[in-house]
Symmetry: C2
Subunit: 220 residues, 2 copies
DNA sequence: CCTCGCGTTATTGTATACAAAACGCGCCCG
DNA sequence: CGGGCGCGTTTTGTATACAATAACGCGAGG
C-alpha cells in the first residue's frame, strides 16, 4: 500500500506486538493516528488489515481492541495452519521446479548458519524459516492458499513465542527442512505432506510446553 | 458495517455479479461512488472487502479491475473449499449438538421444497444450501475456518453457475445433506468428511461439465 | 438503593478538498 | 521512423471538517 497507510500499518503492528498495548485494551483511531504520525484515513486502512490478521478485533459496536487470543484460538490456528501447509506441501511436491528446490537448499543453509553462530540468531532463523515456507507455498501454485496462510503465519502468537525455541528445536527444524527438500526432489506428495505434518505438529507442542498447559497470563 | 459502506458493498457486488461490469474491465472509485450513491470514502471500504473476496483485483499500480477468474483459479477454489469444508464436517461431527442437527433437518426440508415446487426455485435452494453449510461451520467451532470459507463460498463463480444445476443435481444434493445429517447423528467424523468430500467434488464436476472442458468465454 | 431516561462527551462514519502518483499522448531528438 | 521524455489529465491517496452513533454519568422517580 501507499506510504502513509503502510507506515500506519507497520507502527500499529509494532505497537501491538511489542506488548505496549495489552490484550483487551481499547484503541481509538485518533490515538493510533498519533502513534503512526498520519491522519485517521490511512489508520483506518491499516486497522482493517490488522483486523483481518486478527491482531485487532472490533466490539459489537465498532470499538477497537487488541485481540486477546485464548488457548483454544491458538490451537485452532495451529490446526488450520497444519491443514493448509500440508496441502501446500503436497501440491508443491507435484509442481516444484529445480530452481525452487535450489532456493530451498540455499535458504536452509542460511537457516543453519543462523543456528550455529556463537549464539543462535533467532531473528535470522525466523526470517529464513519464513522464506522457506514461502517458497513452498509459491511452488504449490495456489494464490488463495498463499493468502490464507499468510494470515495465519503472521499471527501474533507465532512471533511472540518464537524466542522460546531451544537450539535443539531449531536444529530439528532444519532437519525437517532437509527431509522436505528430499521429498520434493523425489516428487513424493505423500512424503512431503507427512513431513510437513510432523514439522508443524512438533512446533505446536514446543509452543504448548512453553506457555504451559493452561491459559498463559492474567491479572486484575 | 455501517450504512453507507454496507450499501456501497451491496451495490458494487451486485453490479459485478450481474455482469454489468465485464471481467477485466477497469472501475474507478468515482464511478463506483456514483453507482452506490455515496462518497468515495465508504466505497474504498467496500472495495477493500471485495478485493479480499477476489471479486475485484488491483493492478500493480493500484488501479481497480473486475477479477477475471481463469479455469485454474476456479479449480483451485473448489479444491480449497473441499479441503476446508471436509475439515469442518469432521470437526462438526465431534461437536455438533441436538439443536444444530434439528436445524439442519429443518433447512434440508426447506431445500427439498424449493426443488419440488412446480419448477425448482434455484434462489431458495441456494439460500437453504448456504444456511445448511453455515450451520455445519458453526458446529465446527472454528471462527477462523468460518471466515476463510465465507470468502470461498461467496466467490462469484459459485453464484453465477448455480443456475446450471439440473433438478437431478439438486435432488442429489439434498440426499447428500441427508447423509451428512446421519453422519453427524452418528458422531462419525470419518463418515462426515467422506460425504462432504463427494458432495463437493460432484459439485465441481457439475460445474466443469456446464462450462465445458476449457476456458469459458472470450471475445475481442 | 436501584434503575431508567436524558444530556454530555467520546468515538466512529462520511463527505469533501486537496496532494501525489500514474497514465496517455504528442513532440522532439536520435 | 522509432523511442524516450515532458506535460495535461485521470485516478488514487491523505487530511480535515462535520455528522451520526455509542458510551457514560447524573439526576429523578419508584
Amino acid at each position: 500500500m501507499s506510504r502513509a497507510s503502510e507506515q500506519a500499518y507497520a507502527k500499529i503492528r509494532a505497537h501491538v506486538l511489542s506488548g505496549a498495548a495489552r490484550a483487551g485494551e481499547q484503541l481509538t483511531e485518533d490515538q493510533l493516528a498519533q502513534i503512526a504520525g498520519v491522519s485517521r484515513t490511512p489508520v483506518r486502512e491499516a486497522v482493517r488489515r490488522l483486523e483481518d490478521e486478527l491482531l485487532l478485533v472490533r466490539s459489537d459496536t465498532k470499538r477497537l481492541f487488541v485481540a486477546d487470543w485464548s488457548r483454544d484460538d491458538i490451537e485452532e490456528m495451529f490446526a488450520l495452519r497444519q491443514m493448509l501447509e500440508c496441502h501446500a506441501a503436497e501440491r508443491a511436491a507435484q509442481r516444484i521446479n529445480r530452481a525452487q528446490i535450489a532456493a530451498l537448499e540455499a535458504i536452509n543453509r542460511t537457516l543453519k548458519d543462523a543456528i550455529e553462530l556463537p549464539a543462535p540468531d533467532v531473528a535470522r532463523f525466523l526470517e529464513a524459516n519464513r522464506g522457506f515456507h514461502e517458497v513452498i507455498v509459491d511452488a504449490a501454485h495456489s494464490p488463495r492458499l498463499g493468502q490464507m496462510l499468510a494470515k495465519l503465519v503472521e499471527a501474533p502468537v507465532v512471533l511472540r513465542t518464537a524466542r522460546t525455541y531451544s537450539p535443539d528445536d531449531l536444529r530439528q527444524s532444519a532437519r525437517d527442512h532437509d527431509e522436505l527438500i528430499a521429498s520434493f526432489a523425489a516428487r513424493d506428495p505423500d512424503w512431503a505432506r507427512a513431513v510437513m505434518g510432523s514439522h508443524l505438529r512438533r512446533a505446536f507442542h514446543t509452543f504448548a510446553k512453553a506457555v504451559g498447559p493452561a491459559a498463559s497470563d492474567q491479572e486484575p
